[in-house]
């Protein structure tokens, strides 16, 4: 395992700057997820760490050693590609042992390591098959196995689940989480655009946008204390409700955000609106309410909802969970941290 440090790392393609000065640390043994909308630079950042792209300026260190100038195979990394990138003409065994054979390892050691990895990933019956004889999920596991065999200091995953169908994605996600636990503390850097993957797998998440870091923190930190409207809207599903104008004023903020589970449909008091749509997912329901700001507000309810489209309802927010943002979209703390909360409680009692 290794600790990574990035100091003012920048990357330009020609005159176009993609990574605009990133400072961050990845702790040894940590599962770090880079997440962000497409074009934010998360894959580029991963490739800079891997050594597949050249760092324009800035320093990248592994365990204190500057690695900018090292070729990928000398950095002690292993990478799992989005499209698996298996060698089509080699068997699973040959795919997984290729790197070792190139480094001149002897046969016995090769076999031992490959078999160990295959055991871990339940690939043992497939060792003599060709990639085209495997399913997508199996191929992905071979790609992971190939990375494991390299016994790297840092594992890099580049959107490994996007090519899998939904149910397989969930299953493989669990496998990756189990892998992290069983490979006692290998440092993992994982890139995804799916914030559910980020939330479920990460020790810490790094949200990127337009080549800069928006926020780094544990999933819970990002969920409960997003430091910008962007992060607030990016993390959590369904998206956090963001309101401004007359809705935000009582909270002494330019914009407020409130999650669907912190809203309630009440008989009176609160915001008025009409139901436009409801989604019933069995255990929860999400009610979309038009309160006159264009985008409907999403309210979560337990079980099956009784509300029909067109129905006029009142929505009441849980004041302690209202996120407040200034005009620039930066967080200015939750309502409970300002006196506004106290005032509202008084108003509510009247």
């Amino acid at each position: 395992m290794a600790e990574l440090q990035l100091r003012d790392v920048r990357k330009s393609f020609g005159t176009f700057e993609v990574i605009k000065g990133i400072d961050m640390e990845v702790k040894a043994g940590e599962f770090m997820v880079f997440v962000g909308p497409s074009g934010c630079g998360k894959s580029t950042l991963l490739r800079l760490i891997a050594g597949l792209e050249e760092i324009t300026s800035g320093i990248l260190t592994f365990d204190g050693q500057v690695v900018n100038h090292l070729v990928p195979s000398k950095r002690g990394i292993a990478m799992v590609f989005q499209s698996y990138a298996l060698y089509p003409h080699m068997t699973v065994f040959e795919n997984m042992s290729f790197g070792m054979r190139l480094a001149g390892a002897d046969n016995k050691e090769c076999k031992r390591r490959v078999r160990a990895a295959a055991e871990l990933l339940q690939l043992t019956p497939y060792l003599e098959r060709l990639p085209r004889q495997l399913s997508g999920g199996q191929r992905q596991r071979v790609a992971i196995g190939r990375a494991i065999v390299r016994d790297p200091k840092v594992f890099l995953f580049d959107e490994p689940l996007s090519n899998l169908d939904a149910s397989l994605r969930v299953a493989t996600r669990i496998e990756i989480a189990k892998l992290h636990r069983s490979m006692q503390g290998t440092t993992i850097i994982y890139v995804t655009h799916d914030q559910v993957e980020a939330m479920t797998l990460a020790d810490r998440i790094c949200v990127l946008r337009d080549g800069v870091v928006e926020q780094i923190g544990t999933p819970l930190e990002l969920y409960e204390r997003p430091n910008s409207v962007f992060v607030a809207g990016f993390i959590g599903s369904p998206k956090m409700n963001v309101l401004s104008g007359s809705f935000a004023q009582p909270y002494k903020a330019h914009t407020i955000g409130i999650r669907a589970e912190n809203l309630q449909i009440v008989d009176q008091g609160g915001w008025a609106g009409s139901v436009v749509h409801s989604e019933m997912l069995g255990s929860d329901s999400y009610i979309y309410v038009d309160v006159g700001v264009g985008e409907p507000v999403i309210v979560r309810e337990n079980g099956t909802s009784r509300h029909q489209p067109g129905e006029v309802v009142q929505i009441s927010p849980d004041h302690s969970h209202v996120h407040r943002f200034d005009a620039a979209g930066r967080s200015i703390g939750r309502a409970e941290m300002s006196g506004a909360h106290h005032e509202l409680q008084i108003i509510a009692k009247l």
């Binding site: 050249e54 800035g58 260190t61 500057v66 090292l70 990928p72 000398k74």
Partner: protein, 328 residues
């Protein structure tokens, strides 16, 4: 292997912008090493000989005496002497009627051969473009003329065109189209058509296949939509098909033209010293090796090269856009 530089020293930060990944440098270095043998060989068998040929064209070199060639300027190309009688006699390649005759022959030949093989090739391509039983066999059959050595094609056809025992004369006589046996290869009026027939026969496959490939990239729905609109098939051909295959057709025509301008084997094998058919390449070779006019032949080679290079450059310049488009 790795520089153990403490990351927070000013030195490290200062030189961070100069620390490039070894990967890119390694790859570029490898690329040039990989290209070197190819470039070397091509320089050896193409660039150097061409240079020598051009050099010799400005000397009085002869085959037996290459080392003692002396520089004589552009005399091989063009020279003039004023005789005592006041008359100016022009010499050199550009004033040589034999050369211009060869140029003219070559141009005539190229024009007729390329246009014929293009038209026939298009016809064959249209036939091959349809689905029918045995299409694969027909395609293989069509490839045969292309695959044969020029010499063999020449001999096979020469045998059929033989005046005494040839099949063609027999066939024509039986059909009553001619009244006597024609000496195809000996008669100056018929020899060029014979060579043209052979050349068209062996180059039509190439044209046909290129046009076929282009035809197969035309989406079927266009034809179906035209059919629904009730457009007559000839109009479909002219207004839809031709414009869509024009780029590939142009490429094919240019390749064929360059090949036709260089024609050697057919002419050499069938009519080694016949003024009606001698082409630039054949004449040049005669100057070089048969008539002991080596330097003169080099001048002819150079002129031929310039002609072809000119056409090539023109094509490359016009088609530059295409090549850049597919770059990685």
């Amino acid at each position: 292997m790795a520089n153990v530089v403490a990351a927070d020293t000013p030195a490290a930060l200062a030189c961070s912008s100069y620390i490039n990944s070894d990967l890119k440098a390694q790859r570029v270095r490898s690329a040039w090493i990989f290209l070197a043998p190819t470039l070397l060989i091509l320089a050896l068998v193409a660039a150097w000989p061409l240079g020598r040929t051009i050099y010799f064209s400005f000397t009085n070199a002869s085959l037996n005496n290459l080392a003692e060639a002396q520089f004589i300027g552009a005399e091989n190309y063009f020279s003039w002497i004023t005789l005592k009688s006041g008359r100016t006699v022009y010499g050199g390649l550009l004033a040589d009627p034999a050369w211009w005759n060869a140029v003219w022959n070559t141009l005539k030949f190229t024009l007729i051969s390329v246009s014929s093989s293009t038209i026939l090739g298009m016809g064959v391509a249209l036939v091959l473009n349809s689905q029918f039983l045995g299409r694969g066999l027909v395609r293989a059959a069509v490839l045969v003329p292309w695959a044969l050595p020029g010499v063999v094609s020449a001999k096979m056809w020469a045998w059929m065109f033989n005046d005494q025992f040839g099949l063609i004369n027999d066939f024509l006589l039986h059909l009553g189209l001619t009244s006597h046996k024609i000496a195809w290869l000996a008669n100056p009026d018929t020899i060029m058509p014979v060579i043209l027939v052979i050349d068209v026969w062996r180059t039509t496959p190439f044209m046909a296949l290129l046009v076929l490939a282009a035809l197969q990239t035309v989406p079927h729905d266009i034809y179906e939509s035209a059919k629904i609109d009730g457009v007559h098939s000839i109009k479909v051909f002219w207004r839809l098909t031709i414009p869509l295959i024009r780029p590939a057709l142009t490429v094919a025509v240019i390749f064929r033209t360059l090949d036709a301008l260089r024609i050697f084997d057919l002419v050499y094998v069938l009519t080694p010293s016949n003024a009606e058919t001698v082409t630039m390449s054949v004449l040049t070779r005669q100057y070089l090796f048969d008539f002991d006019k080596f330097a003169y032949g080099c001048a002819a080679s150079t002129v031929l090269f310039i002609i072809l290079a000119g056409i090539t450059v023109l094509y490359m310049w016009l088609g530059r856009v295409n090549l850049e488009g597919g770059e990685r």
